[in-house]
C-alpha cells in the first residue's frame, strides 16, 4: 500500500481488493495516508469486504464501495493498470 501510494499521482485511482480491503478500514495508519493523498480516488471491492466480515460503515469516508463491474470500468477508464500484491 505504501508503494502504491508513493506512485499514485493526481488523477490516479486506487482500488483495494482481496486482503487489500483492510487498508480501507477507519482508524488505521493507512487511513491517515489515504486522507493525505490529494487528487487520488479510492475504491474498495464490496464482495471482498463482505467476505472478510468488514461492515460498510467501517470504511473510511470518501472511499467508494464498488462491485466487479466497476472494477472493470476502472481498469478501462484509467490508461495504465498496475497490480500491487
Amino acid at each position: 500500500m505504501d508503494s502504491c501510494l508513493a506512485y499514485a499521482k493526481q488523477g490516479s485511482a486506487v482500488l483495494m481488493y482481496e486482503d487489500g480491503i483492510y487498508g480501507a478500514i477507519k482508524g488505521t495508519a493507512i487511513a491517515d495516508k489515504i486522507a493525505a493523498a490529494s487528487g487520488v480516488s479510492f475504491y474498495v471491492l464490496g464482495p471482498d469486504l463482505k467476505a472478510r466480515g468488514v461492515a460498510e460503515d467501517k470504511v473510511v469516508d470518501g472511499i467508494e464501495i464498488v462491485d466487479y463491474a466497476k472494477f472493470v470500468a476502472l481498469a478501462a477508464e484509467n490508461d495504465k493498470v498496475q497490480a500491487w500484491v
Binding site: Y17, E18, D19, P47, D48, D67, Y68, A69, F71, V72, A73, A75, A76, V81, A83, V85
Partner: protein
C-alpha cells in the same frame, strides 16, 4: 476495450484465481473483449481436468471452461510452468513420453510469447497474483 488477463496463482490456494475469474466474467458481461487469459506459474493448475472439489464448493476449473465456451475465450497455459507442474495435453504427453494427459476443456498449452503478444495487442493487461 480489449483486455488480457494474467493469472499467477493456483486454484483454492489464493484468491487471485477467483478475482481473475470474476473480473473476466464482469468484463465480458459488460461487452468488453477479453482476447486472452494467460495462466502462468502456479496459475497453470487452473487447467487440470482432474480436480474434484466438494459439491458445495465452487468448481474453479469447470467455471473457467464454461466461461470460455460461452464467450469463446482463449485460455493459454504456459508450457514451461505446465511441464514443471504436470499439466499435460496430448502433444506434451507424446513429446515427453508421459502416459496420460489432463488438460481441461478449452485450455491450450503454449509459450510465453502468447503473454507478450497479449500485452502488445490488448489495451489493458490486468494481472492477478504475484
Amino acid at each position: 476495450m480489449k483486455f488480457a488477463i494474467q493469472v499467477n496463482e493456483g486454484p483454492y490456494q489464493h484468491q487471485a484465481t477467483d478475482s481473475a475469474y470474476q473480473f473476466t466474467k464482469a468484463a465480458l458481461e459488460a461487452g468488453h473483449e477479453v482476447m486472452r487469459v494467460f495462466f502462468y506459474h502456479d496459475g497453470v493448475n487452473n487447467g487440470t481436468k482432474l480436480t474434484t472439489p466438494p459439491q458445495d464448493d465452487r468448481n474453479i476449473v469447470n467455471r473457467w471452461t464454461e466461461l470460455a465456451k460461452k464467450y469463446d475465450l482463449d485460455m493459454v497455459v504456459c508450457v514451461a510452468a505446465a511441464q514443471r507442474r504436470g499439466i499435460v495435453d496430448e502433444g506434451e504427453m507424446q513429446r515427453n513420453g508421459k502416459d496420460a494427459e489432463n488438460i481441461a476443456d478449452n485450455f491450450r498449452i503454449s509459450g510465453l510469447g502468447q503473454l507478450i503478444e497479449a500485452g502488445i495487442q490488448s489495451e489493458r493487461l490486468v494481472v492477478f497474483g504475484d
